[in-house]
């Protein structure tokens, strides 16, 4: 487990908001030289604290007006292979995230679609036909906030 000092935490917070800033600009903000800033970021990447980068797009402006979260329960009839389900669900382009969870559902999916009819098409043709898919619950996303977390 990696421990962060205050400067790491502030750096990480700034990078989560905007990773496009130059290391020189970031360094200036936090009173570090450009190489020192670069080394800190490098260390966070090597430690796996920074898992990667993510392009933030406005899905709505790209014509994808509907985001739906689906809770999927696998059907217990017959033998269900988690690998088969996971492989098939991951291949659906409209499915943005797949999480394996424990509780009321087995999987949580984030699905993006152009509009409700388009969502219905994805649901009927692609989700409901997945190997092992049982009960499905849908909740339409209205708003979303990402918070800084305990940094």
């Amino acid at each position: 487990m990696t421990r962060l000092d205050d400067t790491d935490a502030r750096l990480l917070r700034a990078l989560a908001r905007d990773a496009g800033q130059s290391t020189a600009a970031l360094g200036q903000r936090f009173g570090l030289s450009q190489p020192a800033t670069w080394r800190r970021i490098r260390r966070l990447e090597e430690a796996g604290v920074i898992r990667g980068r993510h392009l933030k797009l406005d899905a709505e402006k790209l014509g994808f007006g509907v985001t739906v979260f689906l809770g999927v329960k696998l059907a217990l009839r017959g033998r269900v292979s988690l690998e088969d389900f996971e492989r098939a669900v991951t291949a659906i382009p409209e499915v943005q995230t797949v999480e394996h969870v424990l509780g009321l559902y087995d999987y949580r999916l984030r699905v993006v679609a152009r509009n409700l009819p388009d969502f219905e098409r994805v649901l009927r043709r692609r989700i409901m036909t997945l190997p092992g898919a049982g009960e499905v619950e849908a909740n339409v996303l209205l708003s979303e906030e990402r918070l800084a977390g305990p940094l």
Partner: protein
């Protein structure tokens, strides 16, 4: 609003968000100048909101992630606003979403271990106003995390 060249740039960019504009231009088969102009325009339009780093909370010692699905007491007129305002103040809440469906609000919570989670749940979450029901989904694994839009 966007043409095929724009979408091609976005496809490469969302697949590899750490690419420089020069590298992106090369993949998309256009000059750097042309790619830079298109990217600048998409940023102005708000289609591209930027690049952020993805934090791996597990690498920072937060081994537990729980998704709490909350139903609010809607007989209280300000239930949503009051709940959201206070939930934002819980440091371990990293995501806050509102829905149309059976679930009203979903919180993503991270904790160091189950004892820590229990403490957050009892002392902070159950203190939030206007909750009528809570269901917990315990996070087991991330199978797909692209968050990309099918362009």
């Amino acid at each position: 609003m966007l043409d095929d060249d724009d979408r091609r740039l976005l496809r490469y960019w969302q697949a590899e968000p750490s690419l420089s504009q020069g590298e992106l231009a090369e993949r998309a088969g256009m000059t750097t100048g042309r790619a830079t102009r298109r990217i600048a325009r998409m940023q102005e339009l708000g289609v591209v909101k930027g690049v952020g780093v993805v934090i791996d909370w597990a690498a920072l010692g937060y081994a537990v992630e729980v998704s709490l699905r909350v139903t609010l007491d809607k007989t209280q007129g300000n239930a949503f606003d009051a709940f959201m305002a206070q939930a934002r103040n819980v440091p371990e809440v990293i995501e806050l979403q509102t829905f149309l469906g059976r679930v009203d609000v979903r919180l993503s919570i991270i904790a160091r271990d189950m004892a820590h989670y229990q403490e957050i749940y009892r002392n902070q979450i159950l203190m939030l106003p206007h909750i009528s029901e809570i269901e917990a989904l315990m996070h087991v694994a991330r199978i797909k995390t692209s968050q990309g839009v099918p362009l």
